[in-house]
Symmetry: C3
């Protein structure tokens, strides 16, 4: 293989450099937060009230999603199972440790230190999810070094955007629709635009699945499905807010799933089910309920959002992904624009509607907790009145529903702008030579980056015998 | 393939009709319960005491069992891995959203509304488990539309039975032995009786496993095994009751597992292990401890129950399943009668013994909490006395142990009766044409309902070369 | 196959004998502990404060590691997937029920009874992990009966060692580095030394992986990775101690993972990644942080420990494992000496450093809780002073940091000594005939102990055609 590339130098050098940087920064800046610091424990602190017990269950669930859910889901290519699962592992691990620092500087920095507890890890896992979603756009066409470069740039760009949106625009986005899904989607599209490979529009011999890889990928979907309620609710207020978030996510996913099956059969010419739909479109409901997931939208609205998100996602895969690839030079390998972009826009819109419709009649005084920026500002006597009923209520900005809705719109556009520009720049950097980028011919092939067991050749066998005619890239471009 | 069937019309129509019905009913009847309603939160409610934190961990564990445990376990056929895993996904998702409504009307309906929280989802998952167990009887021989029809009938029949037994007969059944396992088993047998296919008694060329499908199926078993303690304890009283339920389930499963290995080797003519035993018989202990799982039966009794249940289950697979198929027209594809029926009967009997043996000497006053129908009725002065020691104790019916035991017997027979009749009727409906039922020849074959990757033909290869002689349906009829 | 062996007699006899023993001992000695005993519940006990809710989440996570994590990880051989996963299931189940008794006698025995709750199960799972690690040394070369014999001896030897070390030497070892990892490693090496098979040093035709088995094994790694923080923190003090344990484990694993990728590429002659490294070396950080996991070592130290442990582990696989096999007659099949031994020694050393460096300035008064043997002894007036600030503080031994460090050293040597001798003796017993030990030729082959699906021959196919030249035992000897 003359066009082979090696990780022998690039990967170790990248890792070594970053480890030195991370060790230096951790040594200087990272310390324990109040709940992990032994010195602050005394007879006035109760061990079981440590924040650990509020955060860790959700952290563990999200870990399963990140490492096993994404890992299996991305292993759907027949010859790229190692790559999908293992590069996900590498990228996720790297992204989290980097995000701890980057988010730390913006969100958890005081007294000259970043303060660390499990809550930071939860936040870092969300940042990591952003990177993994973007990864979906370029799956099979990038080396692990390129992925690490992507992560090392996407994480700080995300951290800045997140900080700016949360601190200056101040939005409601419990499920991370805007900051996670929309950001990740447009960043990924920016990257893949820069890495455009015209020859891949005609399909690639290895861009296919196998019976076993399809099953593995469905397992990934199931792990994501099962723990998605934890993902969408990990950062809500505790109590009824988190309870609603879990309920809505479950309902949205359920309606989304049966809709995906129906559409898959309906639009297949022989009335059969397509595994790519089951692997991806079923999950659309989880994203679609995101922006309003903790609000009093009523269970039926969560159900309807699941159906709508799923429908948009399905047609996105069917029509938009090929269109973008052929006409817009955007090759969206896993269709992240359908599963995270279109659904994200619907979700953000639904969130805005829910904000506009929110009244004290429905929410009672806790409206000012959920829509915290609508709470009266510091010093307002109404605030004191409310704090009698909702003890922990923090002063807000006194925004009206309409104002908050406009800020949400601003946040969507800011996020799309920042992520697109960030993605384009990052894509440019990823084109640097010496990042071990695979040639077109070597895409979607584990042979390039892995020592392979001897039966890999037999995994290939059917190809040799049945020729290229069997493969329709549009069927497999999930 | 001339006898091909298509899902192009039937599946979308079914889903669309049901989605319209569900949206209408959700819109009119479904609202939040007290723990998900923002309006009811104030300075007297403590967020961390929300019922979410008591119910969600068990809900999440049961989710893993339903979607991943069952999904992998049912994917054991070599050519029906997509079907096993994916139809499980579809059926489960549908069953849960339907059960939320059906159980809602019977158990959570007041003030003209069904009130929703995670506790409803837990209950709905149990109803869903009922459907999936019944599914095991007809695995590989039904279309997804037939499965949805089955679920749409089984759920209301189950909800009525559950409500009648709990409200009028009033039983102890913490692990759901009677209402879940026995109901599901006889319902499934009723359905498969109606769908009898004489030609399949001679074995089917595709009714075999593969090396990979067997491993996948064991993974399913392991997920069920690991989380079964959560399943058996999700609806017990909190505190020591739930603690015992977890302990007994674990012990029962452990003794059941090593017994299954011993029997598998002992009754194999070459002294080898059979994967079907490991996939199924190991789990028998989880069912067998069910009916007495929260009682003070002592750890050794849980151990012994595991051994007994496992033994009954093993011999059921060996002798009863073939007998039922050949002589009684009951083709029990996954042997649910062994894993859920026989063990269920043993478990119910053990539960009755535990009820008869329960004394205040062993349980202390909390006996009247566990055996709640034995508590003194409203107005009885003894009740007030007991409530001083057990604050939350509810008035009971003042039943004696003997009376309660008789009611348990009545519940078993009622459940068997209702489920058998329900199963037969449902099976009749499932025979309607246009439900895309596969022909005998197309059973156990993903080709009928799925777009398949090109290597599916090579998954088939060994068959072509080695002929039918390799396959012994009795070996594979797990 | 003339050198075939059968489980027909040995396995059932072993299981039957043990079940009789266990039932007898459970009946006489095992009862409920205070949190599972209904009789002790009254108006002064609060159900939600039952120890169940503190222990069960960690128990459930460790269950996933034991049954699914280890199960998948050990299924990495191409022809031994059933064996790896299923013998792990059998051995684990047996080990736990046996450990409940053995640890029970040493740690939970009072009033003439072993008292049982979920906390016993957590401890038993740790004992089980010890057996499964040792199993790694002899994977593929032992019959299930031999494994049960090993477990039946290793569990009591472990229970005695654990009891002696905890009761007489008294150490800090929150993550179980010394008692779990070091014990398991040297016990396993002792066993494999006795079971030395010279012919296997030249490689074995079946000692290879397949594309699917490698993916399955990575899934096992991911499950271990994800839940390792729960493993390392399950037995720490609640509150900030457990919080730190989770944080450090996560950080150590993260740095270990990216280091493993870098080393794998750097030391491969073509700059490719080796799956065995990703399956094993990535996990080294979890062991390395173990001994100091709950101490105030600072996040950067956890990071550095991950890098160090990973590096030692990697070079162990590369140089030490072959050396031990050829020169020392120690065939360490899964390289447990690298993943548990070398990292264990590093971890124990780091723990000693952390003990020596611990000051009240860093820890505050809770230093005497974490380093409980440094607390003033009963009657010391300083103890009363401290108990005012740390209410639950128990009297200690008044050791200095230096003294405690010396006791840690003593514990390491005691553990290595006990485990090595125990392993050698156990290996001797395992050589008894009639334990169905496989011949050299039949190692790493499911055919010996399992009824196999007909496609097992095609799993073998590539071997037949491509000959032995493809296989390099050093590549696959993970």
């Amino acid at each position: 293989m003359k066009d082979s590339v090696s990780l022998k130098v690039s990967l170790p050098v990248f890792v070594l450099v970053f480890e030195v940087i991370i060790i230096a920064l951790y040594a200087v800046f990272v310390t324990y937060d109040d709940d992990t610091n032994a010195k602050l424990q005394n007879n006035e602190t109760s061990p079981m009230e440590n924040s650990l017990y509020r955060d860790y269950p959700y952290f563990a669930d999200v870990q399963v999603m990140i490492f096993i859910g994404f890992g299996c889901l991305l292993a759907f290519f027949r010859f790229y199972g190692f790559g999908g699962m293992v590069f996900n592992f590498l990228t996720a691990t790297f992204a989290i440790q980097w995000a701890i620092l980057m988010q730390g500087f913006f969100q958890f920095y005081y007294d000259g230190k970043i303060h660390l507890g499990v809550i930071n890890l939860v936040n870092a896992e969300f940042a990591c999810a952003v990177v993994l979603i973007s990864f979906g756009a370029v799956l099979g066409k990038t080396s692990p070094v390129q992925l690490l470069v992507m992560a090392s740039l996407e994480i700080p760009i995300f951290a800045v955007t997140e900080w700016a949106v949360l601190k200056y625009i101040r939005i409601n986005d419990a499920g991370g629709t805007i900051l996670i899904h929309i950001f990740a989607c447009y960043f990924g599209l920016g990257v893949t635009f820069m890495l455009y490979r015209p020859s891949l529009n005609d399909g690639h011999a290895k861009e296919i699945t196998s019976y076993h890889s399809d099953i593995l990928s469905v397992m990934g979907t199931l792990f994501l499905w099962v723990f998605w309620p934890s993902f969408n609710s990990a950062l809500t207020f505790k109590g009824d807010d988190q309870h609603r978030a879990i309920l809505h996510t479950f309902i949205g996913l359920s309606s989304s799933t049966i809709t995906a099956f129906a559409l898959s059969a309906l639009f297949n010419k022989r009335g059969k089910l397509t595994m790519a739909d089951i692997q991806n479109v079923t999950l659309a409901g989880g994203v679609t309920v995101g922006a309003s997931v903790d609000m009093m939208i009523s269970p039926v609205a969560a159900y309807a959002l699941g159906v709508m998100g799923c429908t948009a996602c399905f047609f996105g895969y069917k029509y938009l992904t090929p269109f973008m690839a052929y006409r817009m030079r955007i090759q969206d390998q896993c269709g992240i624009h359908n599963l995270h972009g279109l659904t994200g826009i619907i979700s953000a819109t639904a969130g805005i509607c829910a904000i506009l419709l929110a009244t004290e009649e429905t929410y009672g005084p806790s409206m000012y907790q959920i829509f915290s920026h609508r709470a009266p500002p510091e010093g307002d006597p109404q605030l004191l009145e409310l704090q009698k009923v909702i003890p922990g209520l923090k002063p807000g900005l006194g925004r009206t529903a309409r104002e908050q809705a406009l800020y949400q719109v601003a946040a969507v556009f800011t996020t799309i702008g920042a992520s697109t520009v960030g993605g384009l720049l990052t894509g440019l950097v990823m084109k640097f030579p010496s990042l071990a980028s695979p040639s077109d011919k070597n895409c979607f092939n584990d042979e390039l980056f892995f020592e392979l067991p001897s039966d890999f050749s037999s995994v290939e066998a059917p190809l040799t015998y049945e020729g290229k005619g069997q493969m329709n890239p549009m069927d497999t471009k999930v």
